[in-house]
Each structure stands twice: as structure tokens, then as C-alpha cells.
């Protein structure tokens, strides 16, 4: 018995038997990718945990030089962007093209705001000579070297996070374009769903970065 010629569509690629199988595979694939990201960031969290446990005082002092208000606002901005992203996916489930686009645009704007604030914060650090290197100097810290360790981790972790935000922004822009071109429907909105998972994950990383970097020891002596 010769098999029927298979018509390949967006929702049913050649290797799958049903659209549901494809969706399940995409979802599992994205979740496994997010687990790899957990371990990727995890290495830096391990370094942070080790050094904070060894140098708690210096880490506390260095943390106090960060602007907690801006950090909190940025956290709120990202949480709002997760809200709008969830609504975008919901609009995808319901096949509402214009709504999808509206929420994707909002998410993108909020993401840009976050990155803008981050850029402003990094510039503050540059001005205050808190960027690790020969020009580093932090007032009051007992050991300049260990304070540099905090800031190395600060820039490495927020930098890696920001890089992921930029990639996310690019994906959102791509989704926006594809939605505009009518690629999605209630029957096929998987890419929106998957980018949503990625975006929420990046938000979760920040949910941890905020207290771990900004709120170590807010009740200690001000520098």
C-alpha cells in the first residue's frame, strides 16, 4: 500500500503525524531549551553564591551602591511585560490578529524601557568608577579587590541577562512581522507561545537577579 502524499503545512511538518504531535514536540523542545538556560545562568549563580558566602560584608557594601529604586522599577517593568506577553499568547489562542500585535508591541516597548534603564544604570556605574579594571575605585570598601569581584559578577550576570533580552526583543519583532503577514491563527500560534515561554523565563532570571544583586544588605551603613 503506497502512502498518501503528505502536504507539508506550518502546523504539520513532514516528520510529524498530527498537528498536536508537532505542538507537543515544540513545547517539550522549548522547555528543554529553557532548562539548558537554567544551567547556563546557573554557573554564574554558583559563582555568586560562593563569593557572597566568603565576602558577605563587601558584597553588601557594593550592593548598596546600586540604585534599588531603579532596580525595583525595572523589575516591575519586566513583570508588566510578562503580563502583556501572556495576553499576546492568549490573543493567539483566540486567533485575534490585531490584539496579538497590540500586546506584542506593548511587550516590546516595556522590554526596551527595561534595557534603557539598564543602560542608564551601567552608565552610572561607569561614572562612579565601579567598572572592574584599572580605573576601579569604591569608597569605603575595606577591600577593593573583593568589591571588584561583586561588580564583575554584576556586569556578567546583568549583561548576560540583557543579551537575552535583546534576543527576545528580536524574536518579538519577528513575531510582530509574521502576525502582520497573517501567519498565525487559533489553529497555529505555536511560535507566539514559544517566544512567550522564553520571555517569561528571562523575566524569572531577573526576579532572582534583583534581590540577589540589589537587596543584599539595604539596612547597613550608607557609603
Amino acid at each position: 500500500m503506497v502512502s498518501e502524499p503528505r502536504v507539508e503545512t506550518l502546523a504539520l511538518r513532514e516528520q510529524f503525524n498530527t498537528a498536536e504531535q508537532q505542538k507537543d514536540a515544540s513545547s517539550l523542545g522549548m522547555w528543554i531549551f529553557l532548562i539548558t538556560e537554567v544551567m547556563f545562568f546557573g554557573g554564574m549563580f554558583a559563582a555568586y553564591t560562593v563569593y557572597r558566602s566568603i565576602y558577605p560584608g563587601v558584597f553588601g557594601a557594593a550592593s548598596r551602591t546600586l540604585n534599588a529604586t531603579l532596580g525595583a522599577i525595572n523589575t516591575a517593568v519586566l513583570l508588566c511585560s510578562s503580563f502583556t506577553m501572556a495576553l499576546a499568547v492568549r490573543a493567539g489562542q483566540l486567533g485575534r490578529r490585531k490584539q496579538i500585535m497590540a500586546f506584542l508591541i506593548l511587550t516590546l516597548i516595556l522590554g526596551m524601557v527595561f534595557l534603557g534603564v539598564k543602560g542608564y544604570e551601567w552608565n552610572e556605574k561607569y561614572v562612579e568608577h565601579h567598572i572592574p579594571g584599572p580605573a576601579f575605585h569604591m569608597e569605603g570598601a575595606g577591600l577593593q579587590d573583593h568589591a571588584q569581584l561583586f561588580f564583575s559578577l554584576y556586569f556578567a550576570m546583568t549583561g548576560l541577562h540583557a543579551l537575552h533580552m535583546v534576543v527576545g526583543a528580536g524574536l518579538l519583532a519577528l513575531l510582530l512581522y509574521q502576525t502582520y503577514r497573517g501567519r498565525f491563527s487559533a489553529a497555529y500560534y505555536t511560535p507566539i507561545d514559544m517566544v512567550g515561554l522564553y520571555w517569561h523565563f528571562v523575566d524569572i532570571i531577573w526576579i532572582y537577579l534583583f534581590p540577589l544583586l540589589y537587596l543584599i544588605d539595604r539596612h547597613g551603613p550608607r557609603p
Binding site: D24, L28, I54, P211
Partner: protein, 97 residues
Amino acid sequence: MTTPHVDSVKTYAAVWIALLLMTGLTTGVAYIDLGAFSVVIALTIAACKMALVALFFMHVRHSTKLTKLVVLGGLLWLAILLSLTMADFATRGWLGA
């Protein structure tokens, strides 16, 4: 698992408000001197926020057992990395070496 669960806007909004409130909470509590307990509170609040984002925004509460296993597995593996690494650094000086 053929038709997806479409959560209501109200549900998402409730989660969103809760997340914002917890952000305010964690920021405020940081200014109170709780000693070693501060980090416990901060991480607990962060874990609650993570749970809300995962369960509701990422639809884990509607997901398959496999997805839930994958999520837990990832968290467990991170815990292995952190705990066994700290098993070294936290015990330097024990047993005389």
C-alpha cells in the same frame, strides 16, 4: 490535550498584581534588619514570584506531567550544582584541612 486552556484576562491580571505587590514587599523588607533571615525571605519571595510566572503565565499548571517533570528536573540540577559546590567552600577548615 487537544484544545488549549484559555485563561481569562482576570486570572492573568490577578497574577500580575500579585507579582507587583511581592516586588514592593521584597524591596521594603530589605530595609529592615533581619540578619541572616533577610536572604531567606528574599529568596522565598523570589521563588513565589517564579512559581506564579511559571504556573500561570507559562501555563505549567495546565501542562503535561512531562513538562512539570522537566521544570522540576532543571531546578533540581541547579540545586545539585549549587549545593555540592558549596559543600566544598562551606567546609574549608573542617576536619583540619
